[in-house]
Amino acid sequence: MNPQPAPARFSVLGQLALYALYTVAGLVAIVWLLGLAAGSTGSAVTGGAIDTGNNAITIALRTEPPQLDYGRATDSISLTVLFHTVEGLLTYDDNMALIPGVAERHEIRGDGATFWLRGDARWSNGEPVTAHDFVFAWRRVQDPATASAYAFIMYPVKNAEAINRGELPPEALGVRALGDRVLEVEFERPTPYFDKLVAFVTFYPVNEAFFQSTDGRFGASADMLLYNGPYVMNEWIHSASMRWDRNPDYWGGHKGFIDTIHVGYITQDVNARLNLFKDGQIADTQLVPQMLGEAMERRWQIDRSMDGTVFFLQLNFRDGRLTANKNFRKALLYAQDPVEFVYKALKEPSYMPAVSLFPFWIRGAEGYFRQEHPPTPHEYNVAKAREHLELARRELGLETFPPIHLLADDSPLGSISSEYYQAVYTRNLGLELRIDKQIFKQRLAKMDAGEFDIVVSGWGPDYDDALTFGDLFSSWNLNNRGRYASPEMDALVRIAQSELDPVKRMAAFGEIQDLVHEDVVIVPMYERGWSFVVDPRLKGFKRRAVGPEVDYTYARIDGRAAD
């Protein structure tokens, strides 16, 4: 159309190149300006995953900690941050054993407990941590105005529940400071596991004067918190990064070996975290099954640990539900094989097919609970399942079964679980399952309202005691969303709550375990775990089943001692 002479084109191109040059210059200027602007919204970490010279590491967190006001915190990421920076009466060591924290020693009796506090525990503003800090913190948790979602965990303390309901003033709480260094607790009922409870964040101390000075913004930013743990959070840029520095005033030398921990990245995307690890930017990362092939190819030393959570199909016992029929539930139990689900569908080497409500790491009277009280092995038996289904059909007087509603959340695991179980029950029992996939809060609302037959759910531990799982199906427990109710279970839970003899107490848990299996309250699926990889220069890193998700308090950089 417009043939241009060849030499002319060269100058046209020259013109264009000139414009390109202007553009590039402009771009550089803009980028530079934007870079200045971005400095305040994130922090550039340059040391890489392991900075041996500065004794610092960089890590990534899954999400922003939503709530660092520990009187109100509920989630595992907040727990993780708080575990590194604040310390309660007792805490955990690197093998998940309970060790002294702010309390040097303690005594638990039938009617109460006494904690003797150490004199050298200090807040990061230099003030000592006293018994009054605990009294203030605990009263605040129960105060209705605080609206703490985890207030229930303190209900074993005398009058706690009444205060939380607004029937008594917070001062009526059964906890007193006898001087600065003795904390006296009165129980509502015998609570033999109270030492495990006080390691939980809800029981952490709060300095009253500092709390008042925050003017309702306690925990909102790095300077709106006081620290008494092995690390101090000196910087927190929301949703972007944090910096934890070793607390020079921490009383013990057994924790906190790394000088600085940079939380350089906060991202939910597990692929992004893997890429950061591959790029040498973070010290450890989780591996999902699809990543294991590459991890092996890169000759990484893969590790695994339990996450603590047990997943199961919770069945609905409300009247009119098919799942209220025991034979129907037995059919559901026998017709599926958690081994196939975990190993073939999920392909997760770190997960364990579940057989019981209690995960395998729960401690018993002496050793592991499940060694003392072995659960009934799972029986995958389609023929038997069909027999039970036939019995159920006759008992219910049905020609055919109506569709079953399988409720699940919108996570990828929720999808795989529901797809797998839908196919299994269709294939083995000829049942029609309808998947009801809902966002998290919607699923919870439906669970509370009982709008399901089966729901894919999980239960994680709050504290290191069998009761954190054991009381789940008592008739008064609001988390018993299938509304299973049996006097036998309630009686057993009462024993488990208050029995002071550990052997008898564990026996009660053993019976709870058998009852859950016999009544098919749940169909166990798996115990969740983590496959992960750690930079070989970092030693002593732990992933935990109870408390924080990841634990760097015992971590140290290899070869650091040599230089």
């Binding site: 100058s11 919204t41 109100r72 890429n275 591959k278 966002i439 609302a445």
Partner: protein, 322 residues
């Protein structure tokens, strides 16, 4: 269509701006109302959590967020707060004001968005001009092929692949040439901004190309050529300048789209932008954050449209002359 409004009789520019702003406020009210009722229509309960609550704890929480009021009261209270510019406290990040969330995270999205638009505009004009110069020859085909890729591959695939590419690049060279994810320096922005601007760049390239071709065939270019004006001058004075106009026109709306549409890129590149907050807030049914982000983005969009309309009159003399 919108631009014809600028031909206001008597030239009452101030009055016109006032009117537009008033319409904008009305629009924001409409957005707030639609969001409020759509959100409260979502089945589920923002206060629920994994651990069930006793009725006492629940009542305490409801009182804290004002959920114990009837819906209409909540709406009126909300509008009142909105008028004062107060979006309330987040449900999931219970210590943070939604205002703070927006203030801290919108600049991140905006920075990324601006850079993406700049990339897109600069790239679009350059590539578009090149393709037009080399019409139906190799560079044209090559660039158009890339454009087609940019248009037809979903953004999450592009983002994931480009991150993987960065890792390979760093591993291959043995140095951290560009960060793989995160935020905080210029280098963190380059890759995500390119990915974010990619589809817009492709779109602008196409636009620039056709716009250039049209002008190459136009009368004034032919006239200039026949007068013996050197091709380079024709190119810079006539073709490029006139061809850029339509690109500038679509750029305004594109800026708004890009600065608000970075969910995917923010997620994949671990960027603390506002987009992530909205998606997470919806999944968590965080009422105040949903309201805050929607109303804020809505207001931003409305404002951008007004600004672009006004600017258009400045840029294009033809509109002014009429």
């Amino acid at each position: 269509m919108r631009f014809t409004l600028l031909m206001w009789p008597g030239g009452g520019m101030a009055w016109y701006v006032c009117k537009r702003l008033l319409q904008g406020v009305l629009t924001v009210w409409f957005i707030a109302t639609a969001t409020f009722f759509a959100m409260h229509n979502v089945p589920g309960d923002p206060l629920l959590n994994d651990r069930a609550m006793t009725p006492a704890i629940r009542a305490n929480l409801e009182a804290r967020y004002g959920l114990d009021q009837p819906l209409l009261n909540q709406y009126l209270i909300y509008l009142g707060n909105l008028a004062r510019g107060d979006f309330g406290i987040s449900f999931t990040q219970e210590n943070r004001q939604v205002n703070d969330i927006i203030r801290e995270h919108f600049p991140v999205s905006a920075t990324l968005g601006i850079l993406a638009v700049v990339f897109a505009a600069a790239g679009g004009v350059l590539w578009g001009a090149l393709t037009a110069l080399y019409r139906n020859r190799l560079p044209d085909y090559l660039i158009m092929f890339l454009v087609i890729l940019g248009i037809s591959v979903p953004s999450f695939v592009v983002a994931a692949l480009s991150q993987l590419g960065l890792v390979s690049l760093n591993n291959l060279t043995g140095r951290s040439l560009l960060p793989v994810a995160g935020w905080g320096s210029v280098y963190h922005m380059l890759a995500p901004a390119l990915v974010l601007g990619l589809s817009t760049m492709a779109y602008l390239t196409r636009l620039m190309r056709s716009s250039m071709l049209e002008i190459i065939d136009s009368d004034f270019v032919r006239t200039a050529r026949s007068k013996g004006v050197p091709p380079a001058l024709i190119f810079s004075r006539h073709q490029l300048r006139n061809a850029i106009l339509p690109v500038v026109t679509v750029l305004g709306p594109q800026i708004a789209v890009i600065t608000t549409g970075g969910f995917v890129v923010e997620l994949v590149f671990a960027i603390p932008g506002l987009g992530r907050f909205f998606v997470e807030a919806v999944q968590q049914l965080d009422y105040t954050v949903i309201m805050g982000t929607t109303v804020f983005y809505g207001a931003f969009l409305v404002f951008m449209v007004i600004v672009v309309d006004l600017l258009y009159g400045v840029i294009d003399p033809r509109v002014r002359l009429q």
